[in-house]
């Protein structure tokens, strides 16, 4: 591990620590009224402390100085010198945000000064009840580094207390010691470096060979060590295994020896090759219940997902072959093949789960957004999160950040009323925004709900009319009015605030969500608040697709875009202009787009009695009827990027591989409709 690697490890650890920090602060805030939990404060303190320590090792002075002041304030809180009131909590939250920023700045490598840093440092100092300029005085404290490796057993700093002597050491390893990959011979050898050592092996517990459980630990050692080193040096050697063995170290009078000695090489321990990391006695700063985790490069995971995708396809092809060969239904081969299939599916599901991440970090970012938005809007807002543990594909989480940020800002800016208004409406002055995530029937449901005034529908309608988004005399239902919020170019705030209304409207939110294969809905009750619901697929790697036939080519259309399928009655199909056609569905006319013709597979047809129409909804709530020749199947398909070397293919989103090994193209309905809208589009190029 070189320096850069260690540095990277530090920053990855910082992410965890910052998460613990934000978590802890939220918990302190939550339990504010029922008194403070000392352990939570400790956790928060340790998180800041560890970041400071690591930062010290990498000479990130700015970070160290700030973390130090933060830590001092937390220490005062821990010691009960100051009390956690809302003002202090606000300060602590802001400091935690600042710390996150500093870590990010440090990670990016530029030690650029942050503008608020100094005043925040002073605020912290003031809160801790210190003199303002006292903050930096005990700078000598910064130097320490918990990252320094404890494995240096050479013992160069042993000048202190050279109270060496003779020690009797009784060492009885447990089964777990071997299971963790420790080797007693190494321990004994290191111990022998401390001085002259006599070792006696105690085999008394060793049973007959027949009764021997080779994984159990049967051997004990009795050691007499003559050393110049202090006793704690002995303890240090056994530090990593102290939970895994019984160890007794006692000073010995000068003249005692072991009667019977088996000196020299420590005997080989019962063979145990179970590899495992050395367990640290306690995991500082992480708080309780450490989870065993491995950090893996995302590329590796993606490669694994790809390969497993192949495995599933290969399995499908194999089944097809067996089918084609006419293997009898009751042949054992069929049974084995079924096992193979379920195994392959299971592997695929498990591998997909690796990419899934808890949505918690995203929610924590939103908590910050809400705080900042509330401060700048002069409102009091509390963000409550639910279902933080809900796991969603990493890419989905990443791409969800922007729309969610916008929605939270919107909720603070437009949803929650000012404290005075809330008070006069008989509500608590502090507005409540609930951000929740949950799994619902194979999809992820994310909701942003505020308890604000709800959508001011007359005002929305008025704005839409003034902007020409709806005709002057249009009569819209409540739902239709709410939908106006998603129209491009709509912004209700009469004064464009710093928060929302910066040109990015809810229409962008909707299109982002839809590009992820999701949908956004809105419900609002005047006086009681507004709820936005986002429904998303669990992963972007697979998609529910309808397998269709377009002029002999097998193609896939995402099920999420299809509203219904129908066989048109010739009387419902009407020509419109030259070549344009519409189909009447329950009183409204929907344009027809002939997939085969738009893709250039065949000439346009004019009768659709042999075709199937797929009613799809594209971006702007527009309906469109796609003409396909037949529907084969509906299934999950693995999405493959399509890189042909000459850019995007209009109307095609990606590709997938079907059970027979052939590639099927996945249709992008929106792109297709756009193509179809221009009557002599690229289709005529061929």
């Amino acid at each position: 591990m070189d320096h850069a690697d260690i540095r990277e490890t530090f920053f990855t650890e910082c992410e965890d620590l910052l998460e613990a920090l934000h978590d802890g602060l939220a918990r302190i805030e939550y339990t504010l009224c029922i008194g403070m939990d000392a352990e939570t404060v400790n956790t928060v303190f340790r998180a800041v402390h560890s970041i400071k320590g690591g930062a010290g090792a990498f000479k990130l002075d700015q970070l160290v100085r700030f973390a130090h002041q933060f830590e001092t304030t937390l220490d005062a809180l821990r010691a009960g010198r100051i009390v956690a009131d809302p003002a202090l909590m606000g300060l602590l939250h802001r400091s935690a945000d600042q710390l996150s920023d500093l870590v990010q700045v440090a990670r990016a490598g530029n030690d650029a000064a942050c503008p608020n840093l100094l005043c925040l440092t002073h605020e912290l100092a003031a809160a801790a009840g210190e003199d303002e300029d006292n903050g930096d005085s005990d700078a000598e404290d910064f130097g320490f580094s918990p990252l320094s490796l404890d494995l240096d057993l050479g013992g160069s700093d042993l000048t202190s207390g050279s109270n060496g002597g003779r020690y009797a050491i009784a060492f009885s390893p447990t089964r777990a010691l071997y299971a963790c990959g420790n080797d007693t011979s190494v321990l004994l050898r290191v111990l022998s470096d401390l001085g002259r050592m006599e070792v006696r092996l105690d085999r008394s517990r060793l049973p007959d060979f027949d009764a021997l459980d080779w994984q159990e630990s049967w051997l004990d050692w009795q050691i007499i060590l003559e050393t110049d080193e202090p006793e704690h040096q002995i303890d240090e050697i056994f530090e990593f295994v102290e939970d895994l063995c019984r160890l007794e170290v006692s000073p010995l009078p000068e003249d005692m020896t072991l009667e019977e000695t088996e000196v020299g090489h420590a005997p080989e321990p019962p063979a145990s090759t179970v590899a495992g990391p050395l367990k640290k006695p306690a995991d500082e700063g992480r708080g309780s219940a450490p989870r065993a985790t491995v950090r893996v490069d995302l590329d590796r995971v993606d490669r694994l997902i790809n390969i497993v995708g192949e495995l599933v396809i290969n399995q499908a092809m194999l089944s097809q072959c067996v089918q084609d060969e006419g293997v009898p239904q009751r042949s054992p081969m069929r049974g084995r093949l079924d096992d193979f299939r379920s195994l392959a599916r299971e592997i695929q599901a498990s591998v997909m789960a690796i990419r899934a991440q808890a949505i918690k970090p995203l929610f924590q970012r939103m908590a910050r957004i809400a705080r900042e938005a509330a401060t700048s809007a002069g409102k009091q807002v509390r963000l409550v999160t639910e279902g933080e543990g809900t796991e969603v594909d990493k890419t989905v989480i990443e791409r969800l950040a922007d729309p969610l940020t916008h929605m939270i800002r919107n909720a603070v800016d437009h949803g929650i009323e000012t404290p005075e208004l809330r008070a006069s409406a008989g509500k608590s002055e502090t507005g409540m925004i609930t951000l929740s995530a949950a799994h619902r029937s194979g999809r992820v449901l994310i909701e942003v709900q505020d308890d604000g005034g709800g959508i001011n529908r007359p005002r929305v309608l008025e704005i839409a009319r003034s902007k020409g988004l709806v005709p002057e005399n249009a009569v819209l239902s409540d739902e239709e009015t709410d939908e106006l919020l998603f129209m491009p170019g709509f912004s209700t705030a009469s004064v464009l605030s710093d928060l929302s209304g910066r040109g990015v409207g809810m229409d962008v939110v909707r299109s982002t969500i839809e590009s992820l294969g999701g949908r956004v809905g809105i419900t609002s009750v005047p006086g009681h608040g507004t709820r936005f619901s986002i429904s998303l697929p669990l992963t972007l790697a697979v998609l529910d697709g309808m397998v269709v036939d377009v002029s002999g080519q097998t193609m896939v259309i995402p099920v999420s875009t299809i509203i219904e399928t129908l066989r048109p009655c010739p009387a419902d199909v009407h020509g419109l202009g030259s070549g344009g056609q519409v189909v009447g569905i329950r009183g409204s006319f929907v344009p027809i787009v002939d997939c085969g013709a738009v893709f250039g597979y065949r000439d346009p047809v004019h009768t659709y009695d042999k075709s199937v129409l797929l009613l799809v909804e594209t971006g702007r709530q527009k309906l469109c009827a796609l003409v396909v020749d037949a529907i084969h199947d509906q299934r999950q398909v693995v999405i493959k990027g399509l890189e042909t070397g000459y850019g995007d293919i209009p109307g095609i989103a990606a590709a997938t591989i079907l059970g027979d090994g052939r590639i099927a193209l996945i249709i992008d309905p929106e792109g297709l409709v756009e193509l179809g809208a221009s009557p002599h589009g690229p289709g005529s190029e061929l």
Binding site: I307, Q553, Y646, I649, L665, P682, E685
Partner: protein, 152 residues
């Protein structure tokens, strides 16, 4: 030292046939050679891109070299061969009539392309190599690749 120098001087090429003409490409660009399998047709693709195939999970576009080089383009069938090549980290399959052999040539044997009228020849042939009485046209793989088109 000398050994490596000669190694660098010499290179191996894969020779293949399209119609009556023989071509070759640097063997280092060749990933594998496989039989023709039906492709999935890409909409709005240039005529010489005959579709994509599944190469163990990768979506690989196939170019009909005969059409690309304008030397007559028969309908591909099972007798045709696809050479999977890597051009600038991108996999591209070349549909050819048959692969004939692998030859070792020295760069000095590569002669400049004789001036002929055909535009396609000028664009895609980097030079010609004489071996015995055969003339191998050294293909410029980067030129054969479909040219990027502006996103619509």
């Amino acid at each position: 030292m000398q050994a490596s120098a000669t190694e660098a001087d010499l290179r191996e090429v894969v020779a293949f046939r399209i119609g009556s003409q023989e071509f070759c490409i640097d063997i280092r660009a060749v990933r594998e050679i496989r039989g023709w399998t039906p492709t999935t047709i890409l909409p709005h693709a240039p005529a010489y891109v005959i579709g994509v195939i599944n190469l163990r999970g990768l979506v690989v576009p196939i170019i009909n070299l005969a059409a690309r080089l304008a030397v007559g383009a028969p309908e591909p069938d099972a007798r045709h061969v696809v050479i999977i090549t890597v051009v600038d980290d991108q996999l591209i399959g070349l549909l050819v009539d048959a692969v004939s052999d692998i030859l070792t040539v020295s760069p000095s044997a590569v002669q400049p392309t004789p001036q002929v009228a055909s535009e396609a020849t000028q664009a895609f042939v980097r030079g010609v190599i004489m071996i015995d009485a055969r003339m191998l046209r050294l293909l410029d793989l980067a030129g054969v690749r479909p040219s990027p088109r502006p996103a619509t």
